[in-house]
Subunit: 189 residues, 2 copies
DNA sequence: GTTTTGTTTCAGAAATTCCTGAAAGTCGTG
DNA sequence: CACGACTTTCAGGAATTTCTGAAACAAAAC
């Protein structure tokens, strides 16, 4: 086992924060804290390391790790002659961001897109004219956004970061590419 | 009041779906359904319209509307000689997306960024070397992402959509602009 | 086949969140 | 300031989610 000593100030502050934020992120406190602990660990940890360090029940940790695996947010490893599973987070933070984006989309967007597609298929009655139009607009917008995500997700991290850093400057390239007329830059609200 | 008749199939399917998705979106079922109803309504609705249509208690609707106002997701309007508040969603779907992005960031990202800044300020002890480095990396990444969001948020909707539609093509412009060496395009996983 | 070491399931206790009806609050008008 | 029309607050019951310990399960070593 790794962590038998008490956590440092720094680590426990970070872990407690992630636990509290967990609820806003759709995961629970336990899972948030487990992820935070793994994130800060240089070495992979096994379930009992987490039990010892965070003081949750063994089964709670087991469930939490299972949920993190469901999110593809942890990697498993093993040691020779040791049957235990050791858990870690990806070294590359961008890999974590990509996974989060993909998994959140899977849970939060895709089911709605599918429902909107179904609903916009059926021809609307007269009383539903406006509602049908709204639903169709929403479907179109979400389709554009998910396609954009698909396309960005195919980029190398280097290129993705380069795009990110370019930020607002990107608009100039788009103008040339898609013949959008120049527009005044909106003042920050 | 507007809606005294039963909801159409289309509307109730949409509203029920939003209620169910609400939990994944960090809002509760009631709030999700209220928003869905407003979203599909051509005319603004008052609180009692919502009570009548959805069958929630008056106070629950009041709380729900208050929460939606806290998210800046609804607009208020009034009629001459009528003190009631009438609620509607923005006509422009992109305005809704922008608001959602801003508000989610405010709740989900900004508090963490602030915490990470504090934690990365303090000089780390030897045992915290790795943890401190991880925290600093996370802070840098989130700073880059929030700045990107700030910059995109300043763009006109036309330009934002043009960027979106350009998708992966954007990488070519970035290459030229930032002297990133050409890299092979990653195959879709 | 039994022991040893580790993981998972599951029923119910504990904690949290949601929802309601009743009471209190607000505000323009007579 | 009292009325009428509308909105908000709040205590507590209902529903849901989280967490635990005990038991079941799995698989390698003996």
């Amino acid at each position: 086992m790794q962590e038998t000593t008490a956590l440092s100030e720094l680590k426990s502050a970070f872990i407690l924060h992630f636990g509290e934020m967990g609820s806003r992120w759709g995961i629970n406190r336990t899972v948030g804290q487990i992820y935070a602990l793994l994130f800060l660990s240089e070495e992979p940890l096994c379930a009992d390391d987490i039990v010892t360090t965070l003081g949750f029940s063994r089964s709670n940790v087991s469930m939490g790790l299972k949920e993190l695996q469901g999110w593809n947010l942890v990697t498993l490893s093993h040691r020779p002659g040791d049957r235990r599973d050791f858990y870690a987070t990806p070294e590359d933070l961008w890999a974590i961001v990509r996974t989060l984006a993909t998994e959140r989309r899977k849970r939060e967007i895709d089911p709605t897109l599918s429902k909107l597609r179904t609903l916009s298929m059926a021809p609307p009655s007269a009383e539903d004219a406006y509602a049908h139009q709204r639903i169709t607009e929403a479907r179109d917008l979400i389709e554009d956004m998910t396609q954009f995500h698909d396309e960005l997700d195919q980029l190398e991290t280097e290129r993705l970061v380069a795009l990110l850093k370019a930020g607002r400057k990107l608009q100039y390239f788009v103008q040339g590419a898609s013949r959008v007329l120049p527009l005044p830059i909106r003042k920050k609200g």
